[in-house]
């Protein structure tokens, strides 16, 4: 099932389907005092909402990720008591509140994950409490980012157990998920089927009967594009899901893997989450640095399992293959019509800064449709995804044969890697 990664603005882009199953709100989206005052009722997809405490962002540098750190520091598991909570009567606007307290919040930022048991216990409890107050449908326990390839996993399990203890104390009656945030640096270059870290993680998570499952996010520290292009990272993700779901009977939620989430759902993930913007599709700490750049529109081709550049490539592809590589969506319809009638680009698909409503709506509809794969039986899901990826590899070859190359806008190299990882998982799982 596809969940939308909510941003500061909760509204879905363009004409994205209203039937999206749910949403995940990250702590970095806005300060605590603001989020607790937001009205979720206006957004149907947020009736099934999750909140990500994002403890894995603890090492952000406040000097370069100032905006995100101010938002994060307002949450009590990061910097308890650093600033008074935003109050509209006192501060009149969030901007005023930030202006008044930004320095205090930035100075109290620890820049690392706390490691003393008392602080961990308090932080875990605060994160659980916040999610209960926000009316979340499940609890995501805060967890640090795993960046070392050791087999200890001790800090992570300490946070999990502190979170479970907090849930017990607060009498939480909701399913509880452990955060598994792993840097791809520790997943690459090791045979995923023998990766000791992976074995330790699944061993530790599956041994905790109190956990409903895991909320899994690979940090794509080594990637420059929007998507993961490394077989080891992808296979690790699938193996992790398989061990938890088929092995331990738990539930896996996956975030920040773009439409590879549909592949993850074939391996057993119940929910995958994404969104149009780069920061909604991937998790990379560098993306939290303050940037002034504006987003440009990108066309996501479900057939290609990747984006096609709007400046030149989309017309080239259309001339050669017609609309076979495109998919009709509410927001994408005008693009197909314009290509067919020789009036490309329609204004809503013009390649210009911030002109992303249609592209965003189109991506979200594509992701929503891919999310429907989860409604199929397990066997059928696997076959559907295999066919989809095989098709994507063919399309990637077709586009390369007409002279198209991979670029910042057009993604042509990962398809074979995705298929390879998927086949390797099937072989390992005997499915």
């Amino acid at each position: 099932m596809f969940y939308y990664n909510a941003k500061y603005t909760f509204a879905l882009p363009g004409q994205a389907p209203g039937a999206i199953a749910g949403g995940i709100i990250p702590a970095s989206a806005m300060p605590h005092g603001q989020l607790v005052r937001r009205d979720f009722r206006k957004y149907p997809y947020l009736q099934h909402r999750l909140f990500d405490p994002q403890l894995y962002l603890s090492s952000l540098d406040p000097d370069v990720s100032t905006k995100s750190v101010i938002n994060l520091a307002s949450w009590p598991w990061f910097c308890p008591g650093a600033a008074p909570e935003y109050d509209s009567d006192t501060h009149s606007s969030v901007k005023n509140w930030k202006d008044l307290h930004a320095d205090a919040l930035l100075q109290s930022w620890r820049n690392c994950v706390p490691n003393d048991p008392e602080t961990i216990g308090d932080a875990a409890k605060a994160a659980v409490k916040a999610q209960m107050q926000l009316g979340c449908e499940m609890i995501i326990l805060p967890g640090p980012l795993t960046t070392l390839a050791t087999r200890q996993y001790a800090a992570e399990t300490e946070w999990i157990d502190a979170g479970l203890e907090a849930c017990k104390e607060l009498k939480v009656g909701l399913p509880v998920f452990a955060t598994v945030a792993i840097s791809d640096n520790v997943l690459r270059g090791v045979d995923p089927t023998q990766n000791p870290l992976l074995q330790t993680i699944t061993n530790q998570l599956s041994a905790r009967g109190e956990l409903a499952g895991a909320y899994i996010l690979p940090e794509l520290a080594s990637e420059s594009g929007y998507i993961c292009t490394n077989r080891d990272t992808l296979l690790c993700l699938l193996l992790l899901i398989d061990d938890l779901v088929r092995g331990a009977g738990k539930t896996a939620l996956v975030n920040y893997v773009g439409t590879f989430g549909a592949v993850a759902s074939a391996a057993g993930a119940s929910v995958w989450s994404s969104g149009y913007y780069r920061g909604q599709r991937r998790l990379k700490l560098a993306d939290f640095e303050d940037q002034e750049g504006r987003a440009m529109p990108r066309y996501h081709s479900v057939k290609l399992a990747g984006d096609i550049g709007l400046q030149n490539d989309i017309e080239t592809a259309y001339r050669q293959f017609g609309d076979r590589i495109l998919i009709d969506t509410k927001d994408g319809h005008s693009l197909i019509q314009a290509l067919a009638s020789g009036t490309y680009p329609p204004p809503e698909w013009e390649y210009s800064q911030s002109n992303i409503a249609a592209a965003g709506g189109h991506y979200t509809e594509v992701a929503y449709r891919l999310g429907q794969i989860a409604t199929q039986s397990s066997d059928r899901r696997i076959e559907t995804v295999q066919r989809w990826l095989e098709g994507a590899v063919l399309w990637s070859g077709n586009l390369q044969r007409i002279g198209m190359t991979s670029s910042g806008q057009t993604e042509l190299t990962h398809q074979a890697v995705w298929l390879n990882a998927f086949k390797a998982w099937r072989a390992h799982a005997g499915l």
Binding site: R151, Q152, Y153, A154, T157, E158, D161, P196, Q199, T200, T202, N203, Q204, L205, S206, A207, G209, D243, L244, R246, G247, A248
Partner: protein
């Protein structure tokens, strides 16, 4: 340092005081000896009549380990775990000797029982149920026994109840390892794949694997791989191949415990339910 043969028992008993009566030897080893005993009063003078097993520890290097065992168990009262009665130090011929008095389990160790022949399915299901219950209980405190095996299971009440003993090398998950990196603890022939890989932070899955090996041994009347640890962690035998007459549901449950991938093994809480049902139906 004392050994079993040089340990001056009478001096130790005298140092322990009149509150204890120490009798026959139960078991001896390189690190200590265990005697049957009884206690007539607690340190604060309350009258008691505790049957106990008194263990004297020879090796001072074991002190921290023993401390941990005591800490781990002090808060426990569980019918399937041997409970601590009292612990302390005594001076024996000028040497400080650690002692721990355990609740005496009036029964027979499973290893001795197995030497007499295979055990019936019902008995095996009862052992599985009770030891899984004990593993579940210690894991709720994030403690892993690490040495689950027939020598550490006591049978009582007509072999229909089992008690897990000797948490001597148990480890709390958050405590730093006492072993050097790359080393593991446990008994060869019962180690889980994770123990063999010397994983630093084991879980209850590891104890479940060792319990599975012990159950196969109880059903077969011999160790399932005749002590070959390597075979156990690469291709453990199927229970139905080992003991074709074993009840299918029992064999299936035991085989799952021997899954090579830890997450595929059932949790102890699930095993308690499964084996309780089996014990009732066999």
């Amino acid at each position: 340092m004392f050994t079993q043969t040089t340990f001056p028992l009478s001096d130790a008993n005298a140092a322990l005081g009149a509150r204890f009566r120490v009798g026959a030897l139960i078991r001896g080893g390189g690190q200590g000896v265990v005697y049957r005993g009884s206690r007539t009063s607690s340190p604060d003078g309350r009258l008691t009549s505790d049957d106990c097993a008194v263990k004297y520890y020879f090796d001072p290097a074991q002190d921290e380990r023993v401390d941990r065992e005591i800490r781990a168990l002090e808060g426990f009262r569980h019918p399937n775990l041997a409970n601590i009665v009292e612990h302390g130090r005594i001076s024996v011929k000028g040497e400080s000797v650690r002692f721990v008095a355990w609740e005496y389990i009036d029964g027979e160790p499973l290893d001795l029982k197995i030497r007499k022949g295979p055990l019936p399915g019902k008995t095996v299901a009862c052992i599985a149920r009770d030891v899984a219950r004990a593993i579940d209980h210690i894991w709720s405190k994030r403690i892993v026994h690490r040495d689950v095996g027939p020598k550490n299971m006591m049978l009582r009440k007509g072999d229909l109840e089992a008690v897990l003993i000797d948490l001597g090398i148990a480890r709390h998950l958050f405590e730093s390892p006492l072993t050097a990196p790359g080393l593991t603890w446990g008994t060869y022939g019962y180690l889980s794949p994770e123990q063999c890989r010397a994983e630093p932070n084991l879980t209850c899955h590891s104890d479940v694997f060792s319990l599975g090996v012990s159950l196969q041994e109880a059903l077969a009347g011999r160790h399932p791989t005749r002590g070959d640890q390597q075979v156990l962690i690469t291709s453990p035998p199927k229970t139905s191949d080992l003991v074709p007459s074993s009840p299918a549901a029992l064999a299936e449950a035991v085989d799952l415990m021997l899954s090579l991938r830890a997450p595929f093994r059932p949790l102890p809480a699930a095993l308690v339910i499964r084996f309780a049902d089996l014990a009732a139906s066999l």
